[in-house]
């Protein structure tokens, strides 16, 4: 099917080829332990975060160096975001939220480096993150509130006749959350990178190639914005879901 589409579309390369996973050291089989381009770029992201947060802030200077002030800005940004949404009680989940934000931010931005691989464009990566949040919130909700957590689905403010209907809708929307949470991130990143590749395919046609190069520049700028915003959106939705676990009646 892919060959047929490639032949008929006239592109030099297929726009979705960039998302192919292949083993780093030859071969074609991918086992769970095989080092692939996916694992390579995940590891590079973790190393970059380590360099920023551990090596960059090693001096603990009163007057911070440039790297240290960037690390402090990110820390303060995530901390304020969590505190604004969940209140004081939610602040103890800060390490989890900070980890999610930095990981997604770095993987997104490293994916924008030319010739690199974007790990968050794969639903497998974002689904693990999204379902992790879902399971954490569900378990936390029952641990912190007991059976009262189910009161989240039973709207006390609604008229009695409507409450069962609203409860069904609320339960469905609760279970769709992890799907939309993970598909949103993967879809946005994948769509953006595919669009860049489509315009790169048009650059081979001489008549419109200057136009398509300009379009690539513009879309690349948009993608830089989207990479940051999607990391922010994923994190703030995590905060909103955590708020449900901490205060289920609001």
């Amino acid at each position: 099917m892919a060959e047929a589409a490639e032949a008929s579309s006239g592109l030099v390369f297929h726009p979705l080829d960039q998302f192919k996973i292949h083993p780093l050291f030859g071969g074609t089989e991918v086992h769970w332990y095989t080092p692939t381009n996916q694992t390579l770029w995940l590891a590079i992201a973790v190393i970059c975060i380590f360099l920023l947060l551990v090596v960059g802030t090693r001096g603990r200077a009163i007057i911070p160096t440039r790297v240290q002030s960037v690390a402090e800005m990110i820390y303060g940004f995530v901390y304020r975001m969590l505190e604004d949404v969940t209140g004081r009680e939610g602040v103890r989940f800060f390490p989890y939220v900070m980890t999610l934000f930095l990981f997604i931010l770095f993987v997104n931005y490293l994916g924008l480096v030319p010739m690199s691989f974007t790990a968050t464009s794969h639903i497998a990566v974002t689904a693990v993150l999204g379902f992790g949040v879902f399971i954490a919130v569900t378990v936390l909700g029952f641990v912190l509130n007991g059976p009262a957590f189910l009161g989240m689905f039973w709207m006390k403010d609604a008229p009695l006749a409507l409450r069962p209907v609203i409860a069904i809708i609320e339960i469905i929307s609760y279970f769709v959350r992890p799907v939309s949470h993970s598909v949103r991130l993967a879809g946005n990143i994948m769509a953006g990178h595919a669009v860049i590749k489509v315009f790169a395919g048009f650059a081979a046609i001489a008549a419109i190639s200057p136009l398509s190069v300009l379009a690539i520049v513009a879309i690349y700028g948009l993608e830089v914005l989207v990479a940051g915003i999607q990391a922010y959106v994923f994190t703030i939705l995590t905060c909103v879901y955590l708020k449900d676990a901490v205060h289920p009646h609001h």
Partner: protein, 79 residues
């Protein structure tokens, strides 16, 4: 018409129809951003506190467009 050709035709038409959803999501995202701006210009002092709500609204509106894009991609390449 041959069955194979009919399936290919149906897939392409279906992917095109699914792409309408992306346009609909664009209307939704524009609505969220436009109403936020209208509110922010009326009361600029309250605008900063509502940026998080703005992004949550944008994300919810945009997710449905991404779903339709995903359906189009699945029709074109996966099925």
């Amino acid at each position: 018409m041959e069955a194979v050709a009919a399936i290919a035709l149906g897939k392409t038409i279906g992917a095109g129809l699914a792409a309408i959803g992306s346009g609909a999501a664009a209307i939704g995202v524009g609505h969220v951003a436009g109403n936020y701006l209208a509110g922010a210009l009326r009361n600029p002092s309250a605008a900063a506190s509502q940026t998080a709500t703005l992004f949550i609204g944008l994300a919810f509106a945009e997710a449905l467009g991404i779903f339709s894009f995903l359906v189009a991609l699945l029709l074109m390449f996966a099925l």
